[in-house]
Symmetry: C2
Subunit: 136 residues, 2 copies
Amino acid sequence: MLSKKTKYGLKALAYLAGQPDKKPVQISEIAENENISQKFLESILLSLRKTGFLGSKKGKGGGYYLLRSPEEISMTDVMRVLEGPIAMVPCVSLNFYETCDDCPDEHTCSVHKLMLQVRDSALDVYRNNTLKDIIS
Amino acid sequence: MLSKKTKYGLKALAYLAGQPDKKPVQISEIAENENISQKFLESILLSLRKTGFLGSKKGKGGGYYLLRSPEEISMTDVMRVLEGPIAMVPCVSLNFYETCDDCPDEHTCSVHKLMLQVRDSALDVYRNNTLKDIIS
DNA sequence: TATTACCCTACTAATTTAATAGAGTTTTCA
DNA sequence: TGAAAACTCTATTAAATTAGTAGGGTAATA
């Protein structure tokens, strides 16, 4: 299941990508337009800023804005930051690898075998989609 | 994240598929060999029996056995029973569809757009794998 | 310099997951 | 026939995660 955090984060990014200019957009504007709790959105945008996707400006006329153009923002990176591992089990994760304590051998594990394919197919989708591709 | 329930269920199915004959296998044997809590596994096997994947036999010499041959068991069906929806958001689910209350229009929703592709790619993997394909 | 807007910490309610415990029932073999 | 083996069912619980709430603090700009 996709977390609300990821869902809201994606919507906020898409909202910013849909702006005609690069002027900062206030949290309250995004929250209202996308039906998101403002405080919750605040924490999400903060983490997107800390990971280099967004810039922010304080004071009157301030807000958040994209640091890169939408076609340069890959869904792979966004998903990893917002949702975490793309793999459904740690033993097939590229960036968050861990062994399973119950599994004697990954190479003969049927779950491993299946989940490896699922990870690769998801990665394929994320790699082929930038923020530009998913805005209406 | 894949739930333990699904992971254990898949392992148990693979274990049964790897049996030389169709004799019932006791829960305790599967639990020991796959390092699964016996009681937890019990409930998982029960649900696999109720959904038509497994048969069971009570009494001495009893246990669980596959009702169909491994190449007839599609991962799509198994995943839906054990893990639930394959889609990451209800609004792109084929079998568990629900609208999002925060979303005014699915057709212009960027999350919807992306998750539709992720669902299809996962379905592709599950449809192309039977239980036979994933046993070592 | 006052207002606007971002920044940060802590808390909490609800939900889900992964068990655990224990009693009960059915079947089969000896 | 009767006892053991094995499945069936219900209820409880501990831990983790999620989604959000509350509220105060800080920085920047007109």
